[in-house]
Amino acid sequence: MRMAIQGIGICGGFGQGVAALRAALQTGRVEPQEVCIEHKGMTDRLPVYQAAVDGLTEFIPKRALRRIDHFSKMTLLGACLALKDADLLEADRSRTGVVIATGYGTLKTTFDFLDSYLDFGYSCSSPTHFSNSVHNAAAAHVSMQFKATAPSLTLTQFEMSVSSALLTAQIWLAENRVDQVLFGAVDESCEVLHFWRKKFFAEGEQGPIRPFALETQSAVVGEGVSFLLLTRAEQDAAYAFIDRVKLGNHDVCSLRLPQDVRLIVGADGHKETGPWYAQVLKDRTATAYAPLYGSFPAAAGFDLAVAALMLRERKLYLLEDQGVPETTDLQATEEKLACLKFGPAGDYGLIQLSN
C-alpha cells in the first residue's frame, strides 16, 4: 500500500528543520564538530555530526523537559517539527500512531545507568536513567506529549530499522488502525561510541566521508532525528508518495534494482558494506548524502527525507565529492527515486518513492 508524506521534521549536524536540510543540500557540505576522547590521561579528537535540540523549547517548556534525555529530546523535536510542517500541531491525534526506528537506542542514558550501577551499586542507580534507558521511552514521550492514543512502537534492527519500521507504519495504515503515523528515525552518539569507533577504525573515522570509496573506511559518527508524517495515499501528498518498502538479504536472494528509478544509497563510509553496494550498483549511477549528516543506522531516514524534499521541489542535488555540486531539475510528473541501505551481512532495505 502506498503512503503519502505530509510533513518532515528533521534535525542533525546541519541544523534543524527542512530549511536547514535544503541549505545543506544546496551548499553540498556540512562540517562536523570535533569532540575530545579522554582515556587514561590521553586526549584524542574525533569529528562528530552532533544534533542540537535547543529548538525544542519553542514547543515544550524547559521545566517539562528536565527528566527527558537527549535521545528523547531529539525524538520530540523531530515529531514537533513534522507536525508543524504539516500544520497539524493543534489537530486531534487520537488516531495517530507513533513508530520509531533506531539502530542504537538510548546509548548515552544506557551507559550512564550502567556506570552508576557499576560505580555506586544498584541502590544508587538513578530510576530516571533506568526509565529513560528503555528503548521505547522516546516513543512514549511523543505519544504522551501529543496525546497520540493509537499504537506506539519502537523498532530496532540496526541498519534495517528504518525499512522495518516503515513496514509497520504501512500495516497500521492498511488495517485502518490509524489515520496518520508519526514515523521517526533517530540515533544518538555518546562518549562510549566515540571511544570504540576511534579504537576500531582509528584514522578511518577522521573523515571526510567518501560514500563511493567503497573499499575505504571513511565514516564519521553522526546523530539526529528524521520524522515523517504519513497518511494513506488516498490523500494528496505534501511531499511525495512511498510506493514500496522491501526488506531482504542480497546473499540469500539477489536484489534486482528497478531500472526506472534514480538511486540514493546509504553508503556512509563503512567499508564492510562497500562490497554489497559495489555488487548491485555496477554500471548504475547513484547519489549519497551521508556527508551531510554522518554515519549511523537511522540515517536511512534522512535519505528518505532528502528524497521526499527533492521530489517536492523537483530538484536533484549532487554533493561535492560526487562530481561537482550541482542541481538537476527532475521531471514534473512520474519521477521516481529509491533509497537503498545495506547492512554488513547483505541485509538491505529498499524504499521506492514517487511524486
Binding site: K62, R66, S116, F120, S123, C124, P127, T128
Partner: protein
C-alpha cells in the same frame, strides 16, 4: 563547602533544575509542592542522591518524610547520620 551548599548544588545538577540557581533555594523552602516544585519521582531520586553523594541511606518513608521537607531538615538528617 557546607552540607546545605552541597545539597543545593547536587539537587540542581542531578535533578536537572537548569532554571534554578543555588542562591534561589532558601534553607527553609519546601522541596515539594509550592516551594521548589519537586514531585514524587524526585523523591525517589533524592533518596539515591543522598546515598550517592553523602553515603547516608534513607531506609523508609518513616524517616524519609520528615527529612525531605526542606534543605535544612535534609541537611540536619545527613549531619546527624554522619556524626
Amino acid at each position: 563547602m557546607s552540607v546545605k551548599e552541597k545539597l543545593k548544588r547536587v539537587l540542581i545538577e542531578d535533578l536537572n533544575l537548569e532554571d534554578v540557581e543555588p542562591d534561589e533555594i532558601t534553607d527553609d523552602m519546601a522541596l515539594f509542592g509550592d516551594g521548589l516544585g519537586l514531585d514524587s519521582l524526585d523523591a525517589v531520586e533524592l533518596v539515591v542522591i543522598v546515598q550517592k553523594h553523602f553515603g547516608v541511606e534513607i531506609k523508609d518513608m518513616e524517616e524519609g518524610r520528615p527529612a525531605l521537607q526542606t534543605i535544612s531538615t535534609l541537611a540536619k538528617f545527613i549531619e546527624e547520620r554522619l556524626a
